[in-house]
Symmetry: C2
Subunit: 393 residues, 2 copies
């Protein structure tokens, strides 16, 4: 079937406004240019080769991925220089080796001496390396913990230099540099974020100095988080800036002031399937699976519960309609203020679009995007990758 307009789709379906996304991409590219730093966008948000190409055209110098499966998908599609910036699990060794053997420019990461040992042991155990090509070497970076947000080696730990040494000692690995993630920037003001970013830059510089003093190169000094890049005065000392969510934006980002509602490029189109005047609400066929149950906006200045309801044709907000509750396949829509909802405007079978709380989580429920540009006309259907396992599902 040919899809001409959103009404041709089976609901729920994922919609992407290419004009809004292009503006987001351009804005971040300009910001990186202003800071004079190469931008390495994260593909864990879009997970689509078409969007990677748009990012590349806007000047992206390599990409981040969050799974080996993303690396496989993008490499197969001709997108290269991929930084798998999640601490490496040894069971992914064979797939990482296969990618590098296939000339994928892949960089890996761990955050500990034990992690380095486990990775090297698993990689050296892959028999195929010897058989296929004696020169295969996997590049590893080490994550530094600055703000306690997630993974990362303790700042100043001697293990960092020892791990670098291990990577340099194995014939199958190479030490490539360091990185940190300013995850704590979420929930901070722009001024606080600037300060946090300064701390990260200092920590990275000190770690690099330790490594250089110990005789190791440190080609990569990578810093990340969308707010860190948006609000930084400078990123001096870093060799690249990582940012991801900015391509789509979402209600969480709008809530922390990283964008406005109008900058959100992603939405879910769904059908009205029930109206209940008694409860001042209508019901749509987009529930917890279609929207995700992400409630990261909870307690934030702007909280639209499970999503903000918009006009299906224009994508524009309609008053204060929100998805107040979800079950697996149903979403209950009411007004945030409690003011009467004009149910006459939403006959059974009519469409609405819902803006997501967290774009990454919502997009993951779908295998493709219906791409529009300011209207309900479908310009393209773009595929995306999902999940973790090797393709053959």
């Amino acid at each position: 079937m040919e899809y001409k307009v959103l009404a041709d789709l089976q609901t729920p379906a994922l919609v992407l406004d290419i004009d809004i996304m292009q503006a987001n991409i351009d804005k971040m590219a300009a910001r990186a240019k202003e800071l004079g730093i190469p931008l390495r966008p994260h593909l864990k948000t879009p997970k689509s080769v078409h969007i990677a190409q748009m990012l590349k055209r806007a000047g992206a110098q390599g990409f981040n991925v969050s799974t080996i499966k993303e690396a496989e998908y993008f490499h197969a599609a001709g997108i290269d220089d991929l930084y798998y910036c999640v601490p490496f699990a040894p069971n992914k060794a064979a797939r990482a080796v296969a990618l590098v053997e296939a000339d994928c420019l892949l960089t890996l990461m761990t955050d500990s001496l034990d992690g380095a040992r486990a990775a090297i042991k698993a990689i050296e155990a892959i028999e195929a390396i010897e058989a296929i090509d004696g020169t295969v070497e996997l590049d590893f970076t080490i994550e530094i913990d600055v703000d306690g947000y997630r993974s990362g080696a303790p700042l100043g730990s001697p293990d960092i230099v020892t791990a670098a040494k291990l990577f340099e000692s194995s014939p199958r690995t190479r030490f490539a540099g360091i990185m940190s993630y300013a995850g704590a920037s979420y929930g901070k003001t722009p001024d606080e974020t600037r300060e946090l970013t300064e701390q990260h830059l200092k920590a990275l510089a000190a770690t690099k100095a330790d490594l250089l003093a110990a005789g190791f190169g440190c080609d990569i000094v990578s810093i990340g988080s969308t707010p860190a890049v948006l609000h930084a005065t400078n990123l001096d000392g870093a060799t690249e800036a990582r940012a991801g969510i900015y391509t789509f934006q979402d209600l969480f980002q709008a809530g922390i002031g990283a964008c406005t509602i109008d900058d959100i490029a992603l939405s879910v189109v769904s059908s009205v399937i029930s109206r209940q005047p008694k409860y001042n609400r209508f019901v749509i066929d987009a529930g917890g699976l279609a929207l995700s149950k992400d409630r990261s906006t909870q307690g934030k200045p702007y909280d639209a519960l499970y999503g903000l309801v918009c006009d299906a044709k224009t994508g524009k907000q309609m008053g204060d309609l929100v998805v107040s509750l979800v079950s697996q396949e149903l979403g209950l829509v009411t007004s945030l203020s409690g003011l009467p909802v004009d149910l006459g405007a939403f006959p059974i079978g009519s469409l609405v679009r819902v803006l997501p709380n967290h774009a990454d989580m919502t997009a993951a429920a779908y295998e493709s995007y219906a791409v529009v540009a300011g209207t309900d006309e479908i310009k393209h259907i773009w595929s995306r990758t999902n999940r973790w396992d090797e393709e053959e599902e």
Copy 2:
């Protein structure tokens, strides 16, 4: 690759303990027998033909589905008598017609006069019906709202009889009966649930009486929710009982006393990828996408945050380890009590299993189950269906 034990899988991966599930299935089958009512299990939880067959062997008399795609998947696999018990969106008319034309025993649902009109209009517009078979008729039920939990026509509304009349008047539809969903049973004590179920039975009986008085048959009187069936004294007047989550169970169900932790058949196996003594935690490669961001256990008597961490081999709980925070691909594991975590027991690359807050949401991130029976030995890999669109992704 052949998967012999959980350690052969790429993490994160979905694990199903068939022994626990079989016990859950048997228990509910015995409960339905005790109540003397045909059991119609919901397939929205397992979404797998193998599990539908197990349910059938235990006496299931038909099934519920939550999407047209599930109906297509199960019908193609030879599982029939499917009740798509979500208010019907007119854009699904062609697929519903195609299923009935292919001799699928399919029952549909709406909850309003407008819903009936929209459904009939969309179904009558499918040109293929005339062309292929003049006798195709789609069965529709009407949902009654009793407890305000989600969709449903207001109790006693004359629209119910009028909608039945519309379905009987169209050459393409037939009125098949009524249903209600005791969703409000979640969050109630067993005694309160019994009382709620009584209210539902009374409402269904009154609605059936109205329909019979108006000259319409009412073959189906369907009542649902796992707690309603578990705690009911009787389900007199209903022709079938619907229940779903009981096949897998989850932490939410355990929290409301519908099962114990040992009854949870579903888990996610993941790898330790970082250890952080400073924060008394380790990090696994199962984050928000692998576990879901469902927080339905929040504020409930038993809250394990994003999931309860168990031994990878036995599936048994290990102290009070929980996933305290998730990002897209990372989960932070710590003790709920704050007591020191024995990080030495969790080297990088070792495995843990995580029990889900909400099984439906977690399972939806995967295309298959690694099926075990009390150990880490993989007995089968079973596929499942996901999403909404027609297959061709």
